[in-house]
Structures are given as structure tokens and as C-alpha cells.
């Protein structure tokens, strides 16, 4: 895991002091709320329906047990005893007081964490593959590149007042577990014919009200020009992105309106210019960062066999454990999606238990998944039963990774001032329905994602089944989408037709899955069947 040196620590400490001073000037009336707002947003502090929300960065989703315990302490000390893991691999607290914010940031800085640029019109927390460093299918661990970009983007003086927010994801395998092409910049570390590593840049993807899949604008940027190329992409956006309309201000609109070819031409011109400006970090810096992400000391000659005599345990192993590059190990997913629960929520006690288990069974390392679950990346197969037993006792052993009840949901109208409809109760009812009717067990992989408004924080465009909450004449109404995917086969879901009320949408999801169960062929997932048979049979069942 990356560890701060004196410089990193000095920067987060300076940030805490700066924010305390900004709060002081706000309270003294030297800053208006309009002037203060972008400052607090860039420290993760968001004003929601009932209180301030604080969003804490978990860079590329990686945490150690000490940090997880600190997050639990914050939940108890400053919030209501729980936190909410988000689709950007971050954690949010929903009941924060402005006067506590400086102290929380100081508590975070004490464990090498921060809330820098987790909101506002700037480069946000950089996300990555939650199985980085553990999966056999990666070329290299993508996180050193994400860390390099974290440093480059932190307090970048030119890019603190962009037209709109800016999200970057970095992966290093063919399989895409980070929705890379749905980011403002998606980077895939690749190898060229000469065997050298480089970065493929996908620019202009995104969800929101105008979902777009990012085109690849450069197939190979040499690694010693990575930061310079990113700077060129950002400068063209900062200079030419639209600022006349907030809803057209993301880079996807610029790339779309200019066309990918023209945007690319401008980036290449800027890149050629910036190459002479000496902004690339020394190569030694990437090498320094890489040393923090070296493999832990995996044991050898470990047993591969797992005692599957307990059927509940065996189901959890089949569903929630993922193949690992080291023999005798797996990555184990801790589901934060119990039946009827709030997707992504964890109590302080649960966080502490997860921290303890990470320390005992996973080399003191944890990952936050963008699907709002937690991963213990490196668990010995021999330890799985003990791990599962501890999780089961704490209500954390739902065997539902990528199943219909592993739902992504935004906070929705229960918390968010932008939302048109509630998301959480719909997620709860769907998971309860599929638990009660038993169909949840037989559906296989089915990614269901719910957003409470068009801004798409719940990634509904990318769900095999997506649900979008809208306001129809003052009544919550839910549109159903089918056929989205955030994976390497990225696609955007299509709306089935007229929306449904709250009870109706739960019925509609069940009807859609019934069509799948009736029509699926050997080995097909819901998404595969939908792609083969198209929308019509689903429409027939829903509206016929």
C-alpha cells in the first residue's frame, strides 16, 4: 500500500489548516456562501436535504485496517454510527455538522487520508480495478499510475475551476471492472508490439443525462509521457469546454460536439507543445510509487481444496470469491447488500470487524468496490471458512456478488437535494421480493442499478437492468432500462416504455426476469439473452 512521506503529509496537513481558515472567514462573513461553496465542495462537503454530507476519498479504493478503523471512529464521533460506501470507491457520511468538518479532516490526515477534490468542478478521486494486484488477468498493477495521477491532480493550479467535475479511472486488464469507458478519462495500461508498457486514453465517456461511451483517442502513450498527455487533455477541456450550460459542460459534450477526431487533434497539438515544458515527473517517481504496490509475501504450497460440506458456506464461496493470481488464495467480497438493507451502508461495528478481518486474513488490505461492496483482496483458501463464519455472524455474508440483489443505488430522495425519487426503498423492496420468491437464487449474474434522478449516480444506464426515478407531476415514477453494461462490453441501457409507480417497478423487474428465465439458453446471463432476443419480448410481458 502507498504510504505518505513527509511531503504528502505536509500537503494534507496544509489542506486541513487552509480549510479551517476558510471556515473561519465564512463564519466572520468575509466569504459569502457563493464564494465558500466551491471551497467546501473541494473538501468533500456537500449540502444535502437534511444536513451536510462529507465525502472522504479512498484513492483507487485501497485502504488498510487502521484507516478503516478511523472511518468507523468518524462514523461514531461525528455521524450516526454508520457510513455509506459509494460508486467512486469513496465513503460518505450523511449527517455532518459544518463546525465539525475541520476536526474530521484532521482525523483523516492522521491516518493518511483526506477529502480533497471529492466534489466540485475539479479532478476527482481516481478510481481503479478493485482486484488490482490480485487478479491474474492484469498486465501490471494499475494503482501506481493512479497514485501518480492523484499527486499530479491534487491542487493542480490550472484545473481547479473546470467547466464541470472530472473523473478518471485507470485499469490494466482487458476485463473492465471500473467502468473505465464511462469516465471523463479512462486509461488502460497496455503493452505495444515492442513489449513496452503504455497507456491507452479513452476520453469523453460518462453517464448523467447524456450517457456516452468514451472513444479511444490515443492507443499508446509512453509511460514517461502519461502526465503530460493527461495535462493536454485537461487543458483543451478547460479552455474550450462549454460553460454556458451546466448540463452541457462535461467533457463528453465537448468531444461529441467537436468530434473525437478534432478533439484528438487539439490534444495532440497541446501535447506536442507541453512535451517541451518539462512537466513530466522524473521516472524515479513512478518506480518509487511501484515499490509500495509490490506483492505481499504470499505463502507457497498452500492447499487448494476447500471443505464444502456446509452448503451455505459453499454457496458464498461460489458467489463471492474470485480467482487470485497466487495459488491457494482468492479475493473475497464482503457484500454490503443484505436482503432489505441499504446498499453500501456499513455500521461502525461492521467497519471495525472488516478491519480486523483484513488484518488477520488479507495482509492488512481492503478495497472498496464501485459496486459498493468491500473486498479482502488476498485471502488463503484455508482461511475462508473462518472468515465466512465471522462475516455471517455480523450479517455480512450475503452470497450475492453480481446477483440481482447486489444492487447499486444512489442515496436518492432520502438524502439528496437533486433527487426526484427515492432509490433506497426500491432497492430494499427488490431484494426482499427476490429473496421471498426464491428467484434470486436462480437468476445468475444480473447487475441492477438504480438512480433517483437523471444525474445517474446509481449508474442506471450501465445496469443489465436499470431503474431511473423521475418526478411525474409531483409523483415518484420509475423508468425501466434494459441492456446496459459497464464492463469490457460497455453498452447503454434502453428504456422499455412508460414508467411505473413504486410498487409497479418492483413487479416490472420481476416480469423482466421471468422473460429471461423462460427464454434463456445454456449459460446465458440476463444480458446475453436480452442481447439475443431484443427488447420486444420484454415489452410484451411488461405492457402487452
Amino acid at each position: 500500500m502507498y504510504k505518505y512521506d513527509q511531503y504528502d503529509q505536509a500537503m494534507v496537513d496544509a489542506r486541513v489548516a487552509e480549510f479551517r481558515d476558510q471556515v473561519r472567514r465564512r463564519l466572520e462573513g468575509k466569504l459569502s456562501e457563493d464564494q465558500f461553496k466551491p471551497l467546501r465542495l473541494m473538501n468533500g462537503l456537500y449540502l444535502q436535504l437534511h444536513a451536510y454530507m462529507l465525502r472522504v476519498a479512498v484513492p483507487y479504493g485501497t485502504l488498510n485496517s487502521r484507516q478503516m478503523r478511523a472511518l468507523a471512529d468518524i462514523a461514531e464521533k461525528y455521524d450516526r454510527g454508520y457510513g455509506h460506501f459509494t460508486t467512486r470507491q469513496n465513503i460518505q457520511y450523511n449527517w455532518i455538522k459544518l463546525e465539525d468538518a475541520g476536526d474530521i479532516l484532521a482525523d483523516l490526515a492522521a491516518v493518511e487520508m483526506h477529502a480533497i477534490q471529492t466534489s466540485g468542478n475539479c479532478i476527482r478521486n481516481i478510481s481503479s480495478d478493485h482486484f488490482a494486484g490480485a487478479t491474474a488477468d492484469e498486465l501490471v498493477d494499475p494503482r501506481p499510475y493512479a497514485e501518480l495521477l492523484r499527486q499530479w491532480s491534487s491542487f493542480h493550479p490550472e484545473f481547479l475551476a473546470l467547466p464541470r467535475k472530472f473523473k478518471i479511472a485507470v485499469i490494466a486488464s482487458e476485463a473492465d471492472r471500473a467502468a473505465m469507458k464511462l469516465h471523463d478519462i479512462g486509461i488502460r495500461i497496455v503493452k505495444n508490439d515492442a513489449g513496452e508498457l503504455g497507456a491507452a486514453f479513452y476520453v469523453g465517456g460518462g453517464m448523467g443525462r447524456t450517457p456516452m461511451i468514451a472513444p479511444c483517442i490515443r492507443e499508446f502513450v509512453p509511460l514517461d509521457q502519461l502526465v503530460t498527455y493527461a495535462e493536454a487533455c485537461l487543458r483543451v477541456y478547460n479552455r474550450h469546454g462549454r460553460r454556458d450550460n451546466k448540463f452541457k459542460a462535461r467533457i463528453k459534450i465537448l468531444v461529441h460536439e467537436l468530434g473525437a477526431d478534432e478533439y484528438t487533434r487539439q490534444v495532440e497539438e497541446e501535447f506536442a507543445h507541453l512535451l517541451d515544458q518539462g512537466i513530466e515527473p522524473p521516472r524515479a517517481e513512478l518506480e518509487r510509487i511501484k515499490t509500495f504496490f509490490a506483492d505481499p509475501a504470499f505463502e507457497t504450497d498452500l492447499p487448494e481444496d476447500i471443505d464444502r460440506s456446509d452448503p451455505e458456506f459453499a454457496l458464498w464461496v461460489d458467489r463471492n470469491c474470485v480467482a487470485h493470481k497466487a495459488p491457494g488464495y482468492v479475493s473475497a467480497v464482503i457484500s454490503l447488500k443484505p436482503v432489505g438493507g441499504i446498499p453500501g451502508d456499513a455500521s461502525a461495528e461492521q467497519m471495525r470487524l472488516i478491519a480486523d478481518l483484513a488484518k488477520r486474513y488479507s495482509f492488512d488490505e481492503l478495497r472498496v468496490m464501485h459496486t459498493q461492496n468491500i473486498v479482502l483482496p488476498h485471502v488463503r483458501k484455508a482461511d475462508l471458512h473462518a472468515l465466512w463464519s465471522a462475516l455471517d455472524e455480523a450479517g455480512l455474508a450475503a452470497p450475492n456478488l453480481d446477483q440481482v440483489d447486489d444492487i447499486i443505488a444512489c442515496p436518492g430522495l432520502d438524502y439528496c437535494s437533486l433527487a426526484n425519487a427515492r432509490s433506497i426503498p426500491v432497492a430494499q423492496q427488490i431484494s426482499e421480493r427476490f429473496a421471498a420468491n426464491g428467484k434470486g437464487k436462480i437468476l445468475g449474474e444480473l447487475k441492477l442499478k438504480i438512480s433517483g434522478c437523471i444525474n445517474a449516480c446509481g449508474h442506471h444506464h450501465a445496469g443489465h437492468i436499470g431503474i431511473l426515478g423521475v418526478d411525474r407531476k409531483g409523483v415518484e415514477n420509475y423508468q425501466l432500462l434494459l441492456g446496459g453494461s459497464e464492463a469490457d462490453d460497455t453498452s447503454l441501457g434502453k428504456i422499455t416504455g412508460p414508467g411505473f409507480d413504486e410498487a409497479g417497478i418492483v413487479d416490472a423487474v420481476e416480469k423482466a426476469t421471468d422473460v429471461y428465465l423462460a427464454r434463456r439458453q445454456d449459460g446465458e446471463r440476463f444480458l446475453d439473452t436480452y442481447r439475443r432476443i431484443g427488447m420486444e419480448p420484454f415489452k410484451e410481458a411488461l405492457y402487452g
Binding site: 511531503y7 490550472e158 484545473f159 515544458q277 515527473p281
Partner: protein, 145 residues
């Protein structure tokens, strides 16, 4: 009249800045003013006789002026680069890093707050137009080979 905060020793230009269009029409003016939608690169062929470039920030949330400043400094412009308009204390540090060396805010700064803003950051991560040595080079020196 806004108070001018200036980090230069030479004499300030004593006449008003002209618009970019006017400047390009009759480029004998020594002071020119860039609006957010102007292309700073249009000035590059004429920089040798420019002594003051004002970059206007009609709203502090519009960050195009930061790029304009860096574009000019990267082109070798060594004259005065002045941020004018809705320029706030909390933007000063980033503006200075992008190459601004004078500030004419609509509303005067509290001198103590402005002073603190310039001195606040012990280090910087990235190179920019202000010549500060980035953390990367403090760690490793300047050798990029």
C-alpha cells in the same frame, strides 16, 4: 478603484489595456486585456512589445484564465500578467502558480488573508509557471533520464 497587489519592480503601464481584437488590429498597444472566451495564443506573435496582459475573471468560477496565463508564460512572455475582476483570496495561490504576478480584484483583499494565501502551501506537486520545485523533484532531483 481596486487596490493593486503587485509582485514586480518595474514601472506599471500607465494606460488602459485594449481588447484582444483592438490589439490585433493595431498592435502597437503595450497593454491588452483577455476575456475568458479569447484565445491567448493569438497574442503570441506580438508578445515582444507587450508589457501588461490583463486576464479578466468575470466570475471566479470560470477557470479559463488560469490556462491563458500558463499559455502566455510557456510562450516566454515575461511582462506583467494581471488577474482582474472577481479575484478572491482563495484563488491567489493557484493564480500565482499559473504565472500571474499582479492582482486587481473588484473588492480589495484583507492584506493579512492575502499574505497568508501566498505563503500557505509548503510544497507543490506539479511544475507550473512559478518555478517552484515540485515534490517529485525534491524526492529525486531533476534528472529525468
Amino acid at each position: 478603484m481596486a487596490e493593486l497587489l503587485r509582485f514586480r519592480d518595474d514601472e506599471p503601464v500607465d494606460h488602459p489595456a485594449v481588447t484582444v481584437d483592438a490589439f490585433l488590429d493595431q498592435s502597437n498597444a503595450a497593454a491588452v486585456r483577455i476575456e475568458p472566451g479569447d484565445d491567448a495564443r493569438a497574442l503570441i506573435p506580438h508578445l515582444d512589445h507587450v508589457r501588461l496582459v490583463e486576464v479578466n475573471f468575470p466570475a471566479f468560477t470560470d477557470g479559463r484564465g488560469y490556462s491563458a496565463a500558463r499559455v502566455l508564460r510557456e510562450a516566454g512572455y515575461a511582462g506583467e500578467l494581471r488577474a482582474v475582476g472577481d479575484v478572491l483570496v482563495d484563488q491567489l495561490s493557484a493564480m500565482r502558480r499559473c504565472g500571474f504576478d499582479s492582482f486587481a480584484p473588484d473588492r480589495p483583499f484583507d492584506p493579512a488573508d492575502a499574505d497568508a494565501a501566498f505563503r500557505h502551501w509548503p510544497h507543490v506537486y506539479q511544475p507550473a509557471a512559478d518555478g517552484r520545485v515540485p515534490i517529485w523533484n525534491l524526492r529525486h532531483g531533476t534528472d529525468n533520464g
